[in-house]
């Protein structure tokens, strides 16, 4: 009989701050590289991390259009949660990361997908913010809080980021 042990790692990516996204993807990639299953559940602002960079004309209401416009479109548009300084902080951080050859967010997202991190986009958040599936990158599952709780119940590490 197989011994039941939970070793999965599950992250809720609620934020779209660049710094928090970097932390989340580094943890998830670390987990899969150690042989664990890792799932990231993107909800609320976190949905923005999954948006394609290019503007995609979609049929949606005016409020949804404004909303979509005001939120960052994809990983390159994210900013730090601190040291805003009119964009200087984010610019500096990216420069430092590049100089030190630390992996940037778009690379981390690709690496995470390639190495088997499971991405789940919260459908309810998408509906609320008026984001359509065709506006998001491919390779996603779409689901809700019930699915998250099911995954989280199989994991021994659960974080809200």
């Amino acid at each position: 009989m197989e011994k039941e042990t939970k070793t999965n790692k599950t992250l809720i990516m609620f934020s779209n701050d660049l710094d928090k996204a970097l932390a989340g993807f580094n943890i998830a990639i670390g987990a899969v590289s150690m042989g664990f299953n890792a799932t990231i559940f993107f909800t609320f602002w976190g949905i923005n991390i999954l948006r394609k960079e290019n503007f995609l004309p979609c049929k949606k209401g005016i409020t949804d259009k404004i909303f979509a416009l005001l939120m960052p479109r994809g990983p390159d548009k994210l900013i730090l949660s601190k040291m805003h300084m009119m964009g200087m902080g984010t610019w500096m951080m990216k420069r430092v990361m590049k100089n030190k050859q630390v992996a940037m967010l778009p690379e981390l997202i690709k690496l995470a997908q390639d190495s088997g991190v499971k991405f789940i986009a919260c459908q309810m958040s998408m509906d609320m913010m008026g984001i359509k599936r065709e506006e998001l990158i491919s390779g996603l599952d779409y689901s809700g809080v019930a699915k998250y709780l099911e995954e989280a119940g199989k994991a021994d590490v659960n974080l809200f980021i």
Copy 2:
């Protein structure tokens, strides 16, 4: 002999951001609707979510009075953690939620209490911020970090929101 399995879900509601509160309550309500026990431990700013809307004259020091005045009184006063835009972001989000008939925070709080989510208010945070029990909604337990850790130790999902 009963097999011991942890299936409870425990959330620390530290923030009083509208968006984070929405996420927390949706997770807790999702959990109880799936048959799990769910506990929300309200600490620090999170205490403000539990405040009654109406001003209640209490005997307290001047600093406590100023503090209480500067913090949001109840779920209707919370604002988003992002897209402040002088209140526009929160107003837009509420309008979107209303249009799409997504449950608003006051309804979620009621639903959570009615469906058996356990609410614990952190007494130490209340003391620090000078918030009295009569200023909070009814149906709460009052406790501290030891109680939280006891509950968290019986849960398989623990989140800090």
Copy 3:
């Protein structure tokens, strides 16, 4: 045969907000006082909590120097995540805590170390932000995400703060 039960508590201290740091240390100290092992993994902004107050001239590049200058140096320099009000909020909170004899952050850090909370500083974050080991307080382990995941896998409570 020893029954394997996870009772450790592991916190990721990502933030350097005063309020979140207070919450994190109170949880960790609560845990060790109840007989559990507690580990705090300081990453990203959280590294700043561990910085010595006094400026230490270090050999580093100009960007690293600017970065270090822009981030808070040690627990006394942290500010609240909310109620900035040009520093008023943090000043008020500290005054309230002092009046009510609530332990301040520097005391909590010392208490945590004295009572056996394990401190791990994320080496990758330090490299990225150009913070040297000699700039941080003593008594730290230095490690990365793999070590964190190893510790987290032995814990029944894992929080991202």
